[in-house]
Subunit: 335 residues, 2 copies
Amino acid sequence: MSEKPKRATIREVAQATGLSPAAVSYALRGIQTSEETQERVRAAAEELGYEAHPIARALASGRTGQVGLLCGSLEDYWQQSLAVGIGRALLARDRYALIVDAGGDPERELALARRLRDQRVDGLIVQPLDPSAALWAELAGTVPVVSIGDALHGGQAQGEVVFDNRRGVTLALEHLRDLGHQRVTVFTPTRASTPDRPADVHVNAEAERLGLRVDVVVVPQSLAEATEVATRVLGGPGRPSAVFCFADSIAYGVYAATRELGLAVPGDVAVCGYDNHPMSALLTPPLTTVDWDIDGIVHSAVRLVVDVIDGKPRKRRVVREPALRVRASTGGAPE
Amino acid sequence: MSEKPKRATIREVAQATGLSPAAVSYALRGIQTSEETQERVRAAAEELGYEAHPIARALASGRTGQVGLLCGSLEDYWQQSLAVGIGRALLARDRYALIVDAGGDPERELALARRLRDQRVDGLIVQPLDPSAALWAELAGTVPVVSIGDALHGGQAQGEVVFDNRRGVTLALEHLRDLGHQRVTVFTPTRASTPDRPADVHVNAEAERLGLRVDVVVVPQSLAEATEVATRVLGGPGRPSAVFCFADSIAYGVYAATRELGLAVPGDVAVCGYDNHPMSALLTPPLTTVDWDIDGIVHSAVRLVVDVIDGKPRKRRVVREPALRVRASTGGAPE
DNA sequence: CCGCATCAGTTAACCGGTTCAGTGAACCGC
DNA sequence: GCGGTTCACTGAACCGGTTAACTGATGCGG
């Protein structure tokens, strides 16, 4: 432990090759030097076990090679998958992800966004709980910001991967209506009190259009709490014939509630989810859900943020379209 | 974007207070300065919106405030939970986690460990796929290493959170034996080819002791692939009456396989998992599994690594004991 | 053969903190 | 009243790279 594992510095490589440190710096990055010199430097570096010190590099160059990933709530399994995917994709591009979790709290989200900026991340990927916060504009002036899900208001983000949540809601509600349901309870995760979130607004508009009666119930993110709320709602009077959960994780809680209450899915209550987490296809019964092609989202978001960081111009806005996966939980044809 | 968001430096704060940069540095950390000076400096810093530059600080002090978290396989949902928990706990202690995923590949694990060290993390938490690799000793000489799960061979780690996997295996197999099963198939995730992993060895030893016939089948980490393998095994001739999955995630795949094959759980085949992921209690039927108290593990690991980094002496080894959660999937008394 | 650009490499400043050695003043006991 | 500490703070080196400005040599068109 106390032996100092002193590593070679760029000056030592310079000494070894008879070049200046600057030349070594250039050579190792393959610029402003002859092929031959680059080869010589590489050999010497290899010999000395030299590897550029990322901190020193970050300080001098102003780029840390790290991207902040600000998640709405990692209690949500789909968001966990998203985070894992983004971390993996960034690593493949030689960047590290700094993953932080707002835990569904919009204030915490903003505090963490500030912390990440102060940490000097090269870019920020955010799944905004509160897309209307003023902080986003300030942040976007400092560091490239890419949003996933809802677009930041005012279009300040350098990149956006937008979910067509209106379409997702329409798909789910139309499906339930087509199956003959008239009363639907919608379980939606805690959100910022932004009355203009497209998805939430759209639920009511769409319900009206389809002649559905909907009750919107806000549920906490954690599985245990979601189960509790669902048990209360489904066990109470006036039970709906169908529920639409705005996250598959919530649907998992609903499944648990139905079992506890002895209700059959979809016989007593049909359940439709949102996200299509890999688990959802494996449940009994398999969960009907709105699929968002997580790989495509990961790919778009990472590509956007990396390209902005690298100064490459790129299409700023990507809109993702959902697809309904009809499975047995709604009594539709099992997939 | 192109306006430079120049932030205040320590020299500006020094100028504003009439002190030297060194004094400001000390004052902000509350050392070697008078109370009054500290207050004055704090006020000036606030006024100027000064916040220490983490990169510069890291370069000068040699500590990055970042801890590497090297996961065995993030395909495994339990490990995802672990990673989320550790990230959260580190953040609460003002550190960032650099989460990377070996994807079940021992070679990749070592390569990533090296990358994290080169990134100058202050500490490393690792869930070793290959505890016998020579690299660990080298690494542990450079950076504090805390292992989770299996202990690193030779005891080089500065901290260890050891799972008593022998006990876990015993609990599961005894439970299945007590239920009258005589042939058990064990699904285990891909691992390093280390013949001396306690858990794997113990499966055979324990099976012999209990008079069980076991077949060990190695399955890939991903849900889809696990399902495929399970379908082949359970659909083939000589189907076992019980399976023991060395990870709940694998059990989820087995559930999917049984449904596909029209087998009843636990009627046709009993299923026992390992980990007790929160989802497992919500499945139909709820999954009997070996519980590892994830919060305790998170807490121990983070505490160990942070204390070692901070130079506080601390108990180096924590052994976690599992508990069997008997649920309906093995036909035991439902919880 | 001249003027100008390009190439390969050097020098020195710089990024923004931390820390070690040193300094003057106040304080202490006797 | 004096040597020895302690306290609060300063100056300068240092962490290990990157980069702007500059230099000398070479190449090229005309």
